[in-house]
């Protein structure tokens, strides 16, 4: 079973796992340690990846994705922009789509209104969001914005719902010890419509 030396050698990475170089892995580790010690020391946050303008745009955009309401606060209130900056260092493969997408947003805003996204009016920003926030009904020429906003929305959700405020908002009640497991509570069985469950 001789091997063809001309066959290409391919290192395999699955689509769902970002391949870190050793340098990227080391950088990510250092960043994580620094973040934990900085927050413990009460040091005010300075973005390490985002430029000042990018960071201002991110702060604006995350709250357009998840605003405050009567049940819980907004994305900025629970540190989603800080989380995103951290993730850009932790997962360098995200940097391209994030920076590229934020740039696309400004270019689109210029194209429509002659201003950056940050300087547009509320109504103007809504017009852009309406064009990119709904994949199924978006126009074809908005596809790059749609792709960016899909990922940005997902990352905002990751950053928001994984906080204490987000978890309480969802009324998740687990991560604790239960002595006796009783299954689906009767009230919930009724709600789901499986009260006829016998065994």
């Amino acid at each position: 079973m001789g091997m063809n030396r001309r066959e290409a050698i391919k290192l395999v990475a699955t689509a769902s796992v970002a391949l870190w170089t050793p340098a990227e892995a080391a950088s990510a580790r250092a960043k994580a340690a620094a973040v934990l010690s900085q927050s413990a020391a009460g040091v005010p946050f300075q973005p390490e990846f985002f430029s000042a303008h990018e960071y201002d745009t991110v702060r604006l955009l995350v709250d357009l994705v998840i605003p405050a309401d009567d049940r819980s606060g907004s994305a900025t209130e629970v540190g989603v922009p800080e989380f995103m900056d951290f993730m850009m260092i932790d997962r360098p493969s995200m940097q391209e789509w994030m920076s590229g997408g934020l740039a696309w947003l400004d270019i689109e805003s210029h194209r429509r209104f002659d201003v950056r996204f940050l300087d547009a009016t509320d109504g103007q920003r809504v017009e852009i969001l309406e064009a990119i926030a709904w994949p199924e009904r978006a126009e074809e020429d908005m596809s790059h914005g749609v792709a960016f906003f899909d990922r940005f929305r997902d990352l905002t959700a990751s950053g928001f719902w994984s906080t204490e405020m987000g978890i309480n908002d969802l009324q998740y009640q687990g991560n604790t010890l239960i002595r006796e497991w009783v299954g689906c509570p009767e009230e919930a069985l009724r709600h789901v419509g499986v009260m006829d469950v016998g065994d």
């Binding site: 079973m1 091997m3 030396r5 066959e7 290409a8 050698i9 391919k10 290192l11 395999v12 990475a13 699955t14 796992v17 391949l19 050793p22 990227e24 892995a25 990510a28 994580a32 934990l36 357009l64 994705v65 998840i66 605003p67 309401d69 989380f83 951290f86 993730m87 932790d90 969001l129 926030a133 709904w134 994949p135 199924e136 749609v146 899909d150 997902d154 959700a157 990751s158 719902w161 994984s162 906080t163 978890i167 969802l170 998740y172 009640q173 687990g174 991560n175 604790t176 010890l177 239960i178 497991w181 009783v182 299954g183 689906c184 509570p185 009230e187 919930a188 709600h191 789901v192 499986v194």
Partner: protein
């Protein structure tokens, strides 16, 4: 290069501390053997090193994966698809993803605890449908070992009397969750068998281990030893005999032989000091995980064994199989706006669906079981990703925030795990160019799915979509096309590699005999997933444990008779 040889000659050297290696250590030390166990990864203690009860916000990345823990930073799995300094290669235009968990106990630290016995038919598939080969053993040969393992390790389940899903000695299974009740009703309506899961998680105390407390975090390392892992259940009693020495951070390089052609021990790299060591033993048991064991044999070349140790058949590395895999998820309105409650449960679904059809009317020969998931889990990195694909269509702002709340708890998913027919295009061999960081030649994988697997996965997709609709839900995403293999996952992705050191009666077409003893080298044994002749529509771990227990008993018997 200086090689440091241990003066001691052990009775047994075991390579690998996972399911097979841990069981061999447990059995052989109990029988009085002095055992040295080489583990490529570091020592790891679930109580000290595990991540039970962590909140996602305890970390800036909220539980996401890292290069060192590719299933998540709170997952008790050190390793991943890529390991620094340990590459592998894949043939051009093919796909094989190889997961390695490098730590004491290996994959048993973070596996799903799905503990299914192979059934009588699984050992004689060739006799049934003419494809592949029969095992050289039957269910009756292995049943007593399944029984002993059930009692030793502890498993919950229900007695169902199914013909090819033998009942075990079960502790009571936990009540289904809300969404599991709903799925069961849908399955019943469609005539799909849906029964309690069979998981190696205690629902009663056993041998000083506590019963489960239903935090749903088995994969993080259980601090109360309520689930099965090799370091939790098998290694402590072995260590207590005083006859087990574990050498961690030991990367085996090759199995050494003497001038009679018998195994004499194992040489390894000590990862801490980078030097070469050799342990000597009268018997060698390889349980490094199927493909690592094949790699070790192929790299153990000599004039007696120019194609690799115990490889006169040329079959080492051949008959590589993985389970087929495919997933569908859906949104179920009946589960929305439910009464908030703790839905964690045991670390896995409480129900599953074993293969339920006969192949007379089907266009594929082998079956699959269905695993289910869903419900009100702990939010973490990746929460409700791809919401743009959900029925609401995406959006932003208050509408989106309310959508996340509505959808939370209403998503269910189905994953199929099917049997593959071994094919000649699926095997691993030694790459002729590439070595790892210790100079050990690496594996090169070749892998292809056959039409049998593609058609089976098509059936999975159709069944899952129908099931979701049966319970009033909407599948997310459209059915993948034939060109996309109906969504079949790449080989290796299910992490059930089996078959590369297969057992058989004929030394010309198998590596091991029916006792997992190398045909060519009578003091050499394999105790991981390599010996499997078929990969079944069931997870392999319980069978790996049973075979290892049986092989260990045979080793003891042979030693006592002076035969090895």
């Amino acid at each position: 290069m200086q090689v440091i040889r241990s003066p001691e000659v052990y009775d047994v050297c075991i390579v690998g501390s996972g399911a097979g290696g841990g069981m061999a250590a447990h059995e052989l030390t109990a029988a009085g053997a002095n055992v040295v166990l080489l583990e490529a990864g570091p020592m790891w203690d679930t109580r000290q090193d595990g991540f039970m009860f962590k909140w996602p916000y305890d970390s800036p990345r909220r539980g996401a994966s890292t290069p060192e823990q590719q299933f998540g930073e709170f997952d008790a799995g050190l390793g991943g698809w890529t390991l620094a300094g340990e590459p592998y290669t894949v043939a051009d235009d093919q796909n094989f993803d190889w997961f390695r968990t490098r730590m004491l106990g290996g994959r048993t630290n973070h596996w799903g605890r799905i503990s299914l016995r192979y059934g009588p038919d699984d050992f004689r598939r060739h006799s049934i449908d003419g494809l592949g080969d029969d095992w050289p053993i039957s269910y009756d040969d292995i049943a007593p070992y399944y029984d002993r393992i059930d009692r030793l390790i502890g498993i919950f389940g229900s007695r169902e009397g199914l013909p090819n899903d033998p009942d075990g000695i079960f502790m009571p299974a936990p009540e289904p969750r809300c969404w599991e009740h709903l799925i069961k009703r849908g399955a019943d309506q469609m005539g799909i068998t849906c029964i309690p899961s069979r998981l190696s998680i205690l629902t009663r105390p056993l041998n000083g281990r506590s019963a489960c407390h239903y935090c749903g975090q088995c994969n993080r390392g259980c601090g109360t030893r309520s689930n099965f892992s090799s370091p939790t259940v098998l290694l402590p009693p072995a260590l207590e005999t005083g006859r087990l020495e574990i050498i961690a951070n030991a990367m085996a390089r090759e199995v050494t032989i003497d001038n009679r052609g018998l195994a004499s021990g194992v040489s390894y790299v000590n990862k801490d000091d980078g030097r070469e060591y050799q342990v000597r033993a009268r018997v060698v048991v390889l349980a490094a995980s199927a493909c690592e064991t094949a790699r070790l044999l192929l790299n153990s070349k000599s004039t007696l064994f120019p194609d690799g140790l115990a490889n006169s058949s040329g079959v080492v590395g051949r008959y590589l199989t993985d389970n087929t895999g495919s997933d569908v998820m859906g949104v179920v309105p009946q589960l929305m706006d439910n009464v908030p409650h703790n839905e964690d449960g045991a670390g896995g679904a409480h129900l599953f669906m074993p293969w339920w059809l006969s192949h007379g009317d089907l266009d594929f020969p082998r079956g699959y079981h269905i695993e289910i998931w869903g419900g009100r889990g702990m939010p973490a990195y990746g929460f409700m990703g791809d919401i743009g694909q959900f029925p609401s269509g995406g959006g932003y702002g208050q509408q989106l925030k309310d959508d996340y709340r509505r959808y939370y708890g209403s998503i269910v998913g189905f994953s199929g795990r099917g049997e593959m027919i071994p094919n000649k295009d699926s095997y691993c061999e030694i790459d002729s160019d590439t070595v790892d960081r210790w100079g050990i030649p690496v594996l090169r994988f070749h892998f292809k799915w056959g039409d049998e697997e593609i058609l089976q996965v098509k059936h999975m997709q159709q069944t899952f979509r129908e099931l979701i609709e049966e319970i009033g839900g909407t599948p997310i995403g459209t059915m993948p096309s034939k060109e996309d293999g109906y969504g079949i996952l790449p080989g290796g992705r299910i992490i059930h590699e089996l078959g590369v050191t297969r057992m058989g009666d004929d030394p010309r077409s198998s590596v091991l005999n029916a006792d997992c003893q190398a045909h060519d080298v009578r003091n050499l044994f394999v105790a991981d997933g390599g010996p499997f002749v078929t990969n079944g529509d069931k997870n392999p771990t319980w069978t790996i444990l049973a075979l290892s227990m049986r092989t260990s008993e045979y080793i003891v018997q042979q030693r006592n008779q002076g035969a090895i």
